[in-house]
């Protein structure tokens, strides 16, 4: 088994998924399958924790693109946390992720999510 997928308990509109091992031609379908039921209209951010991911190929990149495309119509985002050097290099070579969607730690991603949440709430209050 070269890819381990851990689905963490969902937060408010956010869902963290940790992937470990190799995300490639042999494993991307497992990730697509695991993510499919999570990518709902209510989800505003999918946080992929890549700390334990050792390797990614173009097949893995396409899985990330696919998740992003599913969430985009209702304003949802895919955030990536702590990519290791090989992963970062591959992401950079195909310009796969805007810089503001990559975080060096889950704490940093959480802080960003909190900020987004607060902005949404404040915007709601302003409207009243």
């Amino acid at each position: 088994m070269s890819l381990r997928i851990e689905i963490l308990p969902p937060g408010k509109g956010s869902q963290r998924v940790a992937v470990e091992g190799r995300l490639d031609t042999h494993t991307y379908e497992d990730l697509d399958e695991a993510l499919a039921p999570l990518l709902t209209r209510q989800l505003h951010s999918l946080v992929l924790d890549l700390s334990g991911l050792d390797y990614i190929s173009s097949a893995g990149i396409r899985s990330i693109f696919k998740a992003r495309k599913t969430l985009a119509p209702h304003g949802g985002k895919v955030l990536l946390v702590n990519p290791q050097p090989q992963i970062q290099k591959v992401l950079d070579m195909v310009k796969a992720v805007p810089l503001n969607e990559i975080f060096s730690s889950t704490a940093e991603a959480d802080a960003y999510l909190d900020l987004m949440q607060r902005r949404v709430l404040e915007a709601g209050e302003d409207e009243d």
């Binding site: 042999h26 190929s57 173009s58 097949a59 693109f65 090989q86 195909v94």
Partner: protein, 145 residues
């Protein structure tokens, strides 16, 4: 160090091939970073050949993927050979990396990665085979205290 590995044209066998290559490279002191580059090159070229390669009209037993790998001093040379119809993977149009990230076509990324991680790459049609030769520079490691 020099060796040759053959596998049938099947996705599942590509993983075996990469496992063997990784073991050989590790035994020869090649860093995990370069091991990752080699895995990427082999996976992308093999997947492309398996998914898109029209088989040339040659004997069935010749439909194999073959990788030759050699390390000399600070250069790693990799030769990838397959019996598909003539196809130069190095001459495919680059993907549009600056298009809107949501509208971007996702084809062509793999071969783009192969070109990016290789220091040099060349293609030759040899008989019934597509032969791609690539070199990677192995960073010099600090020796001893």
């Amino acid at each position: 160090m020099q060796m040759r590995l053959f596998i049938p044209r099947e996705h599942a066998r590509v993983d075996d091939l990469n496992a063997s290559l990784e073991a050989v490279l590790a035994n020869n002191g090649v860093s995990p970073a370069i091991q990752g580059d080699v895995r990427l090159i082999v996976e992308e070229l093999a997947s492309n050949a398996i998914e898109h390669g029209d088989l040339a009209r040659v004997e069935a037993e010749e439909h194999e993927l073959c990788v030759d790998i050699a390390i000399r001093e600070h250069l790693l040379t990799l030769e990838f050979r397959e019996s598909g119809a003539p196809f130069n993977p190095l001459e495919q149009p680059p993907p549009d990396l600056d298009a809107d990230i949501l509208d971007r076509p996702t084809g062509g990324l793999g071969l783009h990665l192969v070109r990016q991680v290789s220091e040099q790459a060349s293609y030759q049609r040899v008989g019934n085979y597509n032969v791609v030769r690539l070199t990677l520079r192995i960073p010099t490691e600090e020796t001893g205290p």
